[in-house]
Amino acid sequence: MSCKFAELLPQYAAGTLDEASSRAVAGHLDSCLECREELALWRQVGAAIRAAHAADPMPSPALVGRALTRVRRARPSLAARAWALLVAQVPLVRREIWPASALVMAIGTLVAALLGDQRGWTVVQALAPIVAAAGLLGAGPRVVAVHRHGKRGERGLPPMVGARAGERPRRGPEYSRAGPGRSPASLRPGLAQPSPALRAGGGPRPCRGVVGRPAGAPHSHEGVSRRPARSHLALAYPSPDLFPPRGSRRTGCSSLWGSRHGG
């Protein structure tokens, strides 16, 4: 059947077509015998299907009870859920603060257990992010300089100028002047120190730098990630220099973003 109304007829027969389409179909039926025949067939089909449902069994009221029993059985206990939540927070919380965090979570879980399953779980859900946030705040100014030549700055490589979480990295003069032999760590008390092996070796290999700058010349590591340790929240603030306009070319700076600019 080639009539464009044909595909609307099943829904028209079932009474589920929207009002505007129903009016259009009704108007069309007056002038189309083929559609009238087809509509009659669909109406018969609908009647046959509904008649076959007349003796359907009623669903047992106990069935939902059995389903809920399975729901309760499948639900992990409060302790298991609290443990899973605690484990999920571990990457956010500084290692030194783990014992304090674990203690707070344990006390919270105990309180939650006393409150009962539903209200208790709400307490645990509220508590876990607070513990994670406290862990982040406790981390203080942290320095993570990921360098292609090695690992994170705090584990032996000369770190970059640090910044607190949420603070935009500063491009201080002491940093931009820091060359391979002069670690910024010496400029800022409290920053992580390079490893003895690295100090003996005179620092990391110099970057090849930006086009136009003599190879090996010291330059700032703007754009290197500065973020609170173990935090997935504050990633680097990349310097505009790292993403130069089309046409300008960079070579070889092997920082966190090295792969982005040919390092």
């Binding site: 595909e7 099943p10 829904q11 027969a13 079932a14 009474g15 589920t16 009238r36 025949e37 087809e38 009659a40 067939l41 669909w42 109406r43 018969q44 089909v45 609908g46 009647a47 046959a48 299907i49 509904r50 008649a51 076959a52 449902h53 007349a54 003796a55 359907d56 069994p57 009623m58 669903p59 047992s60 069935l63 939902v64 059995r66 389903a67 809920l68 399975r70 729901v71 499948a74 539903q118």
Partner: protein, 195 residues
């Protein structure tokens, strides 16, 4: 003047029940079952052909609905969402239990009995012929007819339940129509006589 844009699901009371389920309200699941249990069981029964398996499917579906309630975004009607779960669970059950394709013999017999004396002989004969032809259809084709004519879904909603494009639903309807016409013609009945 502010004009609030309402989605069709905003007026669906079952959507609120699903949201309550997502927050762990067991009473909401009971209410949802009370409102839709019969339709869901009927659909499961048509897909599996066995009352015991249909009840099992419905129980699995309620569990799946409970677990999936927090992922329900209210874009479809709650009944469409529930029927989709039942459809999926029923297919899994038939595959798992290696059940043969369900037959509608029992349903046909029941329908014949329920046709009652008021139904004329010819109408009864036509209905029997149609029900026989419906029973010969594959589960995919019959499920589309069930969704459109018994569950009252639109073609788009039926497509959502069956997890297939709307075009597939249309082609299944077209195939079913051709099959039913042939079956009626085989019994010496014509579609024109039904007008």
């Amino acid at each position: 003047m502010e004009i609030a844009l309402l989605r069709s699901t905003d007026l669906d009371p079952d959507v609120a029940l699903v949201k309550r389920m997502a927050s762990g309200d067991e009473e909401a699941l009971r209410s949802l079952y009370a409102a839709n249990g019969r339709r869901l069981l009927a659909y499961a029964l048509r897909l599996t052909g066995s009352e015991a398996v249909a009840e099992e499917v419905l129980q699995d579906s309620l569990l799946a609905a409970w677990q999936g309630a927090r992922h329900y975004r209210g874009e479809a009607r709650a009944i469409t969402w529930l029927l989709g779960i039942v459809h999926h669970q029923a297919l899994n059950a038939t595959r798992r239990k290696r059940l043969p394709l369900q037959d509608l013999d029992r349903a046909v017999l029941v329908a014949d009995r329920d046709a009652g004396p008021e139904a004329g002989a010819e109408a009864g004969e036509r209905r029997r012929a149609l029900q026989g032809a419906l029973a010969e259809l594959s589960a995919d084709h019959r499920s589309v007819l069930e969704l459109v004519f018994y569950q009252g879904l639109s073609l788009a909603e039926a497509a959502e339940v069956c997890a297939c494009p709307v075009g597939t639903i249309k082609s299944r309807l077209s195939y079913a129509k051709a099959h039913l016409r042939r079956a009626l013609a085989g019994e010496g009945l014509r579609a024109e006589d039904m007008i």
